[in-house]
């Protein structure tokens, strides 16, 4: 059964169709939200909310773009709202605390694991308007035009934000890794 057929059945309230759709997308949505927020529990909750909205708002879906783009638009909006809430509350995810504890306590990290952990940390520090387009491009493989439609911004803005996000990431990663090497030497 193709995705358009699935969404048509979801519009009629078919829960089995929603289950099939979740099987296809749940891991991708959880993964995207996890890297957007840096908090696994919250990512799972928001991924569930994404599919609940898909179910209740299926009638609003117009088949002008791929279904995945619509699902990730919902997920991105939820991630944006969560980022705004966190800015107000100054929230620190448990993963970050655990990662800091690990990096303080452990002696030597394998380079790949260390890079990936630093990358996650630096990514969490990026503002949401840089992080979301970058994740949608690199993790989910959407085109810049699709991301622009999903986030409701002009294509030029999205291109600039992705490029700026990469630049910031690279600069911060180099800085962190250089600092780490200096400490070891």
């Amino acid at each position: 059964m193709d995705e358009q057929e699935l969404i048509e059945r979801i519009k009629q309230g078919d829960e089995m169709a929603l289950a099939s759709l979740m099987k296809i997308y749940k891991d991708r949505v959880v993964n995207f939200l996890y890297h957007s927020l840096g908090d696994y529990e919250r990512a799972v909750e928001l991924a569930q909310e994404t599919f609940i909205r898909v179910y209740f708002r299926a009638r609003q879906y117009r088949p002008v773009g791929p279904l995945s783009a619509w699902i990730f638009t919902i997920a991105s909006n939820l991630a944006k709202s969560e980022a705004k809430k966190r800015r107000r509350v100054n929230f620190v995810p448990l993963e970050e605390v655990a990662s800091q504890l690990r990096s303080n306590g452990a002696g030597y990290d394998p380079p790949a694991a260390s890079l990936s952990r630093h990358l996650e940390q630096v990514l969490n520090e990026l503002p949401a308007h840089y992080r979301l387009p970058l994740l949608l491009k690199d993790l989910e493989g959407f085109s810049q035009e699709e991301i622009a439609r999903m986030l409701g911004r002009p294509v030029g803005t999205i291109k600039a934000r992705i490029s700026r996000a990469r630049h910031i990431l690279r600069r911060r990663l180099e800085g962190t890794l250089r600092g780490k090497n200096d400490e070891r030497a």
Binding site: E15, L18, A19, M22, K23, K26, D27, V29, V30, N31, Y34, H35, Y40, A43, V44, A47, Q48, F51, I52, Y55, F56, L115, S116, L119, E120, L123, L134, L135, D138, L139, R166, L169, R170
Partner: protein, 133 residues
């Protein structure tokens, strides 16, 4: 220089085993609460429609009788003149506030030096009043 691609470095996480079950649980919960609200609102409407209609009428009548006096009292701009002054003003008069500089040097020319001069302004309600020294 090779472009940094996050997919190569970031670990991927998966949804928990009971993901779908929890989604359906939440959907059922929301359906129940939606039905409940709908049911309550229909029941309120059916049983209390006479009461609701009466309350609406009371508000309407109260609005009709209370709002015009309220606007009469608070709707007009506050006058800068006291009732006594207002009586002296011609009806439909347009009032311009004027600031004019006053030069007292000639008035005080024949007063001997080192004397305190008190300028007393009247504070009564008539508009035209002289300044007394």
């Amino acid at each position: 220089m090779k472009e940094l691609n996050l997919k190569d470095f970031l670990p991927s996480v998966k949804a928990p085993e009971d993901f779908e079950e929890r989604v359906f649980e939440k959907i059922r919960e929301r359906k129940r609460s939606r039905k409940k609200y709908l049911f309550i609102s229909i029941r309120i409407w059916r049983r209390q429609r006479i009461l609701l209609a009466t309350a609406f009428l009371v508000f309407l009548v109260a609005g009709i009788f209370l709002l015009p006096p309220f606007f009469k009292k608070y709707g007009q701009p506050e006058s800068r003149y006291s009732p006594g002054q207002a009586k002296l003003l011609p009806a439909e008069a347009s009032i311009l506030s004027l600031i004019e500089p006053v030069d007292f040097t000639r008035d005080f020319a024949d007063i001997p030096a080192k004397k305190v001069v008190y300028i007393l302004e009247t504070v009564n309600e008539s508009i035209v009043s002289e300044v007394k020294y």
